[in-house]
């Protein structure tokens, strides 16, 4: 898969990452999302990372960049609301791990 779909729901954008992303795919998502936010004037973005195997420092930086609107190639496009829903490992393992090891993270800004 070369692209991760970005769905528009009213004034929001929904991104559900269902593949184990390599770095280039993560960067292209960051670019695509930045473009879509501008073109749709979205007021918020929901990114579902529950299917990601891990969030390492690279993916962490990508998510932080999206949240802060700080794509280094496209500065000054303003801040936006972003919420991440997810946990630390594969989707099928969520239920058993949710309470002890992997609390859901929800960041609002």
């Amino acid at each position: 898969m070369d692209r991760i779909p970005i769905l528009r729901i009213g004034e929001l954008l929904l991104v559900s990452i269902q593949v184990d992303m390599h770095d280039r795919l993560a960067l292209s998502l960051q670019d695509d999302l930045t473009d879509r936010i501008v073109s749709t004037r979205a007021r918020g973005v929901l990114i579902d990372i529950s299917a990601l195997d891990v969030v390492d420092s690279f993916i962490g930086r990508m998510l932080a960049n999206i949240r802060h609107g700080e794509d280094p190639r496209r500065r000054n496009r303003g801040r936006r609301n972003a919420a991440f829903r997810g946990h630390h490992a594969g989707g099928t393992r969520l239920d058993s791990a949710r309470d002890s090891d992997c609390p859901q993270h929800r960041l609002r800004h």
């Binding site: 184990d20 770095d23 195997d53 891990v54 390492d56 420092s57 962490g60």
Partner: protein, 135 residues
Amino acid sequence: MTVEKSNELSIASQDDVVLVRQAVRTAAVEIGLSLIDQTKVVTAASELARNAVVHGGGGVAIVSIVKEGNKRGVQLICEDTGRGIVDIGLAMTDGYTSGGGLGLGLGGAKRLSSEFHIESRPGEGTRVSITRWKG
């Protein structure tokens, strides 16, 4: 420490980083690591494999199941023949990055592992070895 089983993967591209993560996950599941420990060692593997590709120009990853006494663990060795690290202390410092990450890669990988060893010679390459023991 004895090696029960070993799998060598070449790491030349970002896609190979994903394959290393998957191989480490498989080994971690096989020895029955808890989900949180699986995630820790897979995250550390992702950092090290990426370093080998981005900074080391590629190399090899050796994913093993190891045993010492009664305990079993997952070991990952990442070796590259890149330019090496001049100042390992600086490279291990949180927030220091010469690439595109958060600068938590090497230090993070160390914290996520039970054992961590790094050797590097400028101009010759870098070898990082991590082990996560069960229990």
